[in-house]
């Protein structure tokens, strides 16, 4: 993953929050992840990548951030089921939007949602993972990109 490619994901994260909530997310400088210390928050939506690229992209966020987004969208059911659904949908949307730059051979899976901070996310071996940290409405979350 090159720096310009990482910038694609940074731009998509910014666009997502501005467009969906009307409130910008503050995106910090991406960094190379420590495979033994990957960020995992309350809900994580994992998207497998295949085709012309291999790996995965995941979005991880605290429950409160997801509740706030759902509330702003008019959703009244803030159950864990819908929070998980939203985590998967955000992962899916960010990965799908990346096809604008990566092309239609950048194949994305349906989301796999993992619940709980004590979970481990398995990334492809030998592929560097980059963390794109950001903050929205005082809640920290991350997008992790591990794609070769």
């Amino acid at each position: 993953m090159t720096e310009p490619e990482l910038r694609v994901f940074v731009a998509i994260v910014k666009h997502y929050f501005e467009q969906q909530t009307g409130i910008a997310a503050e995106v910090y400088t991406p960094f190379l992840a420590d495979p033994d210390a990957l960020p995992v928050l309350d809900y994580t939506g994992v998207i497998g990548i295949s085709g012309n690229r291999q790996g995965c992209v995941y979005f991880t966020a605290p429950a409160e951030l997801l509740r706030l987004i759902l509330s702003r969208s008019g959703e009244t059911d803030l159950s864990p089921r819908n929070l998980a659904d939203l985590a998967g949908e955000i992962g899916n949307t960010i990965s799908g939007n990346a096809r604008r730059q990566f092309g239609n051979e950048f194949l994305i899976s349906v989301p796999l949602v993992v619940q709980g901070r004590d979970q481990t996310i398995s990334l492809p071996k030998g592929v560097k993972a980059y963390v794109i940290p950001f903050c929205w409405q005082h809640h920290d979350a991350s997008l992790v990109v591990s794609v070769v």
Partner: protein, 124 residues
């Protein structure tokens, strides 16, 4: 005449969002389907005039579902609502029988505008 709408998306919150927006717009929500296979069953039972269609779904994806819905009823108006933002996917969906393409993330205003265009083309 109130048009019937079938909403196809594997995300419950997206189905709800579309239902809220297009219900308020005046469409009758005739069915909600989490994948293409379920959409075909509901479509045959309720015969909606309008469908919103996600593309990345389990069991049967949106492109295959569009093809099959169009084979059942070539008059059906289909708006693709998908995160897949590349031109090739949009062109393929239109070739298979969709009439419009709205990229996620979307606002309710963008959705109603896209449906409005879809239905105005039908009338012309």
């Amino acid at each position: 005449m109130t048009r019937k709408l079938l909403i196809v998306d594997d995300s419950n919150i997206i189905r709800n969002k579309i239902a809220r927006a297009l219900g308020a717009y005046g469409l009758e929500i005739a069915g909600l389907a989490p994948n293409g296979a379920s959409a075909l069953e509901i479509f045959s039972a309720v015969r909606p005039q309008v469908v919103t269609m996600d593309l990345t779904m389990p069991e049967m994806d949106g492109i295959e579902c569009i093809r099959k819905l169009h084979a059942i009823d070539p008059r059906v108006r289909i708006l693709v609502v998908s995160a897949l933002a590349d031109k090739a996917t949009a062109i393929q969906a239109l070739k298979e029988g969709a009439q419009g393409f709205l990229c996620k993330p979307f606002t309710e205003e963008e959705l109603t505008e896209a449906i409005g265009e879809l239905l105005s083309e039908e009338a012309s």
